[in-house]
């Protein structure tokens, strides 16, 4: 019998913890839906207004919900010494960080993306936009998970983890939010969505390439 690859093993462990610990993805979804419910309550139920702002606000809620669970991405493993053990293993710190972000995305980002078309339609977007909403949310939440990982790694062991992380990460969420909301706006007005979708995909790839290096450096500095 061969031993399982360390990559698969790590993803399995993190994903298992993400899905079972403390309600799993329900927490993020609950937050997402609650935020969504607050929008008509604060702006009034005027359907014309809601339809116009549905894409933008959905993206804002998606960004905030992705942020919510990031605080715990590295914190527990950092506090109880799992990172020191993982470091002794065959994987470099960059890969460990990247895989943790991937598990984070599989555990919460994916579920939030699946909820995105629903949220957008409830807020008043046309049901035909659902497929594009799902596709763009998948790419967007992937960037959110990886860029957010940089913030989580940087704020490790600081005194004001959560708020600090939001402050660090949100400016970097600007491009995907712009592209994603722009994409949905284009879909709603029957424009061409491909340019925005390409930008969104490009940013996701950029985040995938950059984040592991930055997270590795930040984790090294935190662990030393």
């Amino acid at each position: 019998m061969t031993r399982p690859s360390p990559i698969i093993a790590l993803i399995k462990r993190d994903l298992g913890l993400a899905l079972t610990r403390g309600g799993g993805p329900l927490l993020g979804i609950g937050f997402y839906l609650t935020l969504m419910a607050m929008i008509p309550l604060s702006l009034g139920p005027d359907q014309a207004v809601l339809t116009r702002i549905a894409p933008g606000l959905t993206w804002l809620c998606l960004a905030l919900s992705s942020l919510l669970s990031l605080e715990r991405l590295f914190e527990r493993d950092f506090d109880d010494g799992v990172f020191d053990v993982l470091r002794l293993g065959p994987l470099p710190l960059e890969a460990i960080a990247g895989l943790k972000c991937l598990s984070q995305w599989l555990g919460t980002g994916l579920v939030l993306s699946l909820a995105t078309p629903v949220v957008m339609i409830i807020l008043g977007a046309a049901p035909q936009t659902a497929l594009m909403a799902l596709l763009s949310a998948l790419l967007g939440s992937l960037s959110f998970a990886f860029i957010g990982g940089i913030g989580a790694a940087l704020s490790l062991g600081t005194r004001k983890g959560g708020v600090l992380m939001a402050l660090l990460v949100l400016p970097f969420y600007v491009p995907p939010v712009i592209f994603g909301a722009g994409l949905m706006q284009a879909v709603q007005t029957h424009g061409s969505p491909w340019q925005a979708l390409a930008f969104l995909a490009a940013y996701a790839l950029f985040a995938l390439a950059l984040a592991p290096v930055a997270m590795g450096a930040a984790l090294k500095s935190a662990l030393s």
């Binding site: 400016p171 592209f179 930008f199 930055a214 450096a217 500095s221």
Partner: protein
Amino acid sequence: MITWLANPERFNIIARPLRPWLAGVAAVLLAWGLVLAFMSPEDYQQGDTVRIMYIHVPAAWMGLLIYAAMGVASFFGLIFRHALADAAAKAIAPVGAVFTGLALLTGALWGMPMWGTPWQWDGRMTSELVLFLFYVAYIALHASIEDEPRAAKSTAILAMVGLVNLPIVHFSVQWWNSLHQGDSIFVKGGPTIAPAMLWPLFVMVAAYHVLTAWLFLVRLDSEILMRRYRALRIRLTFN
């Protein structure tokens, strides 16, 4: 040269005598620039309010330049463990934040008579606001890590990630843009701004640069002294 300057003592041998000169030149240039700005002709559309430009444009420029400088300093600090580069990035950050804030503020003051609104969500203003948020995040991260070498490392990573991201943010914001007047200095076929206005602007830009250099050296020196004080205090408590 850069490694040679990593020793704070050696650095101060050069920097300390330079400081009064820089302060003097900055004061003269600022005074000269302001006089030129007030003597320059009014704009045929904007009237007197065009003079806000002489404060606004250099401030916006310095905000960007200082962020780039922080990125470079962070690179040297992180890769080559250059001790002074870490201190330099930390020392210059609030200066850049203030310049960026000044650009936003003067922009709002300029916008009120010109556009009838202090704030317009257009490409450049939004990018400038995001730049300001980058500075805030950088300073907040530095303030929340007690251990100085760790703080330097973490903020260096943030500064470099931010530097890579800034053009992307700028591009994405442009993509979504609206009403700001286009670039009028660095355009093909020479400046579209009148020469009578270009001169005071260049003097002000020069003045801001020298002022920044002076502020930077003063802040860097106080940062070095602060570190020495902390090191001495630790040594005293443990002996």
